[in-house]
């Protein structure tokens, strides 16, 4: 899997969007590129409020002098954030037929099987077994991701690191 490095989280979204879809369907590619799904209004509202762990909230409008943290301290923390990889490597996950997307932190997992289990739990489906030559067998669903070249790749071929 691609190492995302020190990209700003918002830049990550496009580069590493993971999609789960039926194998061999070209439509999923084009659907995947649009982040929005047609939703009735009230469901959208629900998504907003369940926010906390899922959303990558765009940087809030910065109020001057808020939060009340000394500039010295603010400068120190900001430099660190820019230098380090930041905590967590969140990527968007969408699944065909699901009403909204999810986000997962890739740093929480050490290998593909762990990731697959988590996705299975999250979306209540089964991904089947991974075979190096044939891809995933035993399920209608296949995990794919879009790499930085814009190609749809099968999850699991590239070494985890």
């Amino acid at each position: 899997m691609e190492k995302v490095g020190v990209y700003d989280e918002l830049d990550n979204l496009k580069a590493t969007e993971l999609r789960l879809g039926l194998p061999g369907t070209e439509e999923t590619v084009s659907c995947g590129k649009s982040n929005k799904r047609a939703l009735p209004n009230n469901t959208e509202k629900e998504i907003e409020s369940t926010g906390k762990t899922e959303t990558a909230s765009p940087p809030k409008a910065q109020i001057v002098g808020w939060p009340p943290v000394r500039s010295y301290r603010k400068n120190n923390i900001q430099t660190k954030k820019n230098e380090s990889e930041g905590q967590g490597n969140y990527v968007k996950v969408s699944m065909d037929g699901a009403p909204y997307l999810r986000k997962i932190d890739l740093t929480m997992y050490k290998q593909y099987p762990e990731l697959m289990k988590s996705l299975e739990n999250m979306f209540k489906f089964s991904v089947g077994e991974y075979f190096e030559r044939e891809g995933y067998k035993g399920s209608d669903f296949v995990p794919t991701y879009e790499d930085k070249d814009g190609d749809w790749m099968l999850v699991g071929d590239v070494p985890w690191e």
Binding site: S57, P67, R73, Q78, Q87
Partner: protein, 575 residues
């Protein structure tokens, strides 16, 4: 006491050291006033513009130690323009002219220049102690003068200052004869450090108790320094990145084991998490731990370290420790008196931040807790009520919910009842900072119950002038009131002008006070300096009638016995 000769009374006064007590003593009678003023060695001035150096020296000619504070507190959060004021040079010039035997100078939020440091270093033969907190305006050249000229320097303590680092050789300016250092703190310097000079300085300072390094001091240097100074009590680690298998790391581990007097640990400005284990052997002795700059260290490593710190009294940490981490603190640190939890993600939306659960856990586990500063994502009234019940001994209670106006996240109610419970239970509360959704009701509670409250910080709170009035009328001991983005206006401001004589200062920004309101106040109270800070020059406040209704962006007023200051920049209008 009238039957005793003056020397005896003076001797008794020697035991009274708190400046509040000494101020009280001086008010008893003329004779005591006289004895007290000649024997006073330490003076604290909370607002450098309330008095001038000449009057200070007239009253206290035997001054040895002076503490001065300059800019208002909200300057820490960039609400006060840099050139506002708080210059120390006139003070040092006046002290130098008077030939007073100054030994100690402590400054907070003041503008210090290399020129003033140079003058300071040359004017006072017995100068021993310089403590600068949140100051700005000087460079390492100024430090070089201090190092070179102060023969008996004991303390050089630089806390969170903005210092222009010229990467000079200020450390090598300490003469070889300088062996008196007790405190050396240069953690806030950004540039390279002459490690050889530093090691030699530490090696020849047998009395060195407090050493705080900057990020340019790497691990192997730290190891060598600790070998030179096993008597160290307070250590600020600079850079702490290394391979745990390397020789320097092993040397460090060995050196740390010998530092049996080490009680306070801070710094870790650049840190690799696995190296923290080197400190585990001395953790059981630690009373103070400040890891609030160690952003790279993950919660799990923090927790591993803290589990060894059973004697901790003071803990400053980042919210990356999480509620779970705070539960560990609560079960381990039974001696904890002061806790500060800082935000690690200033843009909000943090995923490992702390919530009301962590606060409740701490309050339940740490019976001696009296001071807290807590940045969190959310709070509830129920939690605050529990905290108040668990910890009725709070002296300082500062809660900052990161999102302004956020209500109780369970009930969606304002947090009036929660804070009300705090002020009702904590009868010794001296300092309070509010946040979250708050109505006038919380101020009713504060006015009613917070009898000892001296400092109150308000942001995005209240509904009407009544809120501010409750506080002004109720809190008899109020000294510093600072308010931002709250709907308080002229009615509250002008209700009781004499109140401001009992207070050090009032700050109001982005509130509803108008220019004409401020003018009326200035007229009624000539002993106040009423400053309007208006950075937008194009928006020059006009004199004529209907412009008076224009809202004032920043108002800062303070009592003073020396009238309008002469050093105000053009954007500060003193009415």
């Amino acid at each position: 006491m009238n039957y005793f000769p003056d020397e005896v009374i003076e001797h008794v006064f020697d035991f009274v050291t708190s400046h509040k007590d000494r101020n009280a003593i001086s008010l008893v009678c003329k004779s005591w006033y006289k004895i007290e003023r000649y024997s006073r060695q330490k003076v604290f001035i909370g607002n450098c513009y309330a008095i001038n150096p000449e009057r200070l020296l007239r009253r206290f000619p035997c001054l040895k130690s002076l503490t001065l504070k300059g800019k208002p507190h909200f300057a820490d959060f960039n609400l006060v323009p840099h050139e506002w004021g708080g210059f120390v040079l006139p003070w040092i010039e006046a002290l130098a002219r008077s030939r007073v035997g100054l030994e100690e100078l402590r400054l907070k939020r003041m503008v210090v220049t290399d020129e003033s440091l140079e003058l300071l270093s040359r004017s006072f033969v017995n100068f021993k102690s310089l403590v600068l907190v949140s100051c700005e305006g000087f460079t390492t050249d100024g430090l070089a003068s201090i190092a070179a000229n102060c023969r008996h320097l004991r303390d050089l303590d630089l806390q969170e200052n903005e210092i222009d680092d010229h990467r000079g050789q200020w450390l090598s300016c300490f003469p070889d004869t300088c062996t008196t250092l007790v405190t050396l703190n240069f953690a806030c310097l950004e540039g390279e450090t002459n490690l050889v000079a530093l090691e030699r300085l530490v090696a020849r300072s047998p009395n060195l108790k407090s050493l705080k390094l900057n990020r340019a001091v790497p691990l192997d240097a730290l190891a060598r320094l600790m070998v030179c100074a096993p008597q160290i009590v307070d250590l600020g680690v600079g850079s702490y990145e290394n391979d745990p298998d390397s020789e320097s790391y092993l040397k460090l581990k060995a050196a740390i084991k010998k530092c049996t007097l080490l009680r306070s640990l801070s710094g870790f400005l650049e840190a690799a998490p696995h190296c923290l284990s080197a400190f585990h052997p001395i953790c059981h002795n630690l009373t103070s731990l400040n890891l609030s700059y160690a952003a790279e260290i993950h919660g799990s490593h923090l927790i591993k370290l803290i589990q060894h710190c059973k004697k901790l009294q003071r803990l400053w940490i980042l919210d990356s420790i999480g509620d779970k981490g705070l539960e560990v603190v609560a079960s381990t640190c039974k001696e904890l008196q002061e806790l500060r939890v800082f935000p690690s993600d200033l843009l909000g939306g943090g995923n490992t931040a702390v919530t009301e659960e962590g606060l409740v856990a701490i309050s339940a586990g740490c019976p001696k807790l009296h001071s807290i500063l807590y940045f969190c994502q959310q709070m509830t009234n129920a939690a605050l009520v529990t905290v108040a019940k668990n910890c009725p001994n709070f002296i300082r209670f500062r809660l900052c919910i990161l999102e302004p106006n956020k209500p109780d996240h369970v009930t969606s109610q304002p947090l009036d009842e929660g804070f009300g419970a705090i002020v009702k239970a904590c009868k010794s509360l001296r300092r309070l900072s509010l946040s979250g959704l708050l109505t006038d009701q919380v101020f009713l509670y504060i006015g009613m119950y917070a009898n000892q409250l001296e400092m109150l910080s308000i942001a995005f709170a209240g509904d009407t002038d009544k809120g501010m009035l409750y506080v002004l009328n109720g809190c008899k001991k109020m000294k510093k009131l600072e308010i931002r983005d709250s709907p308080f206006g002229d009615t509250a401001l002008l209700a009781d002008v004499s109140k401001y004589e009992t207070m050090r200062s009032l700050w109001m920004s982005s509130c509803e006070v108008t220019l004409s309101g401020c003018k009326r106040l200035a007229q009624k109270a000539p002993w106040l300096n009423v400053e309007i800070i208006n950075e937008n020059d194009n928006n020059r406040m006009e004199e004529n009638g209907h412009e008076g209704r224009q809202k004032v962006d920043k108002l800062y007023l303070y009592r003073t016995v020396v009238g309008t200051r002469m050093d105000a920049p053009p954007f500060v209008w003193i009415l």
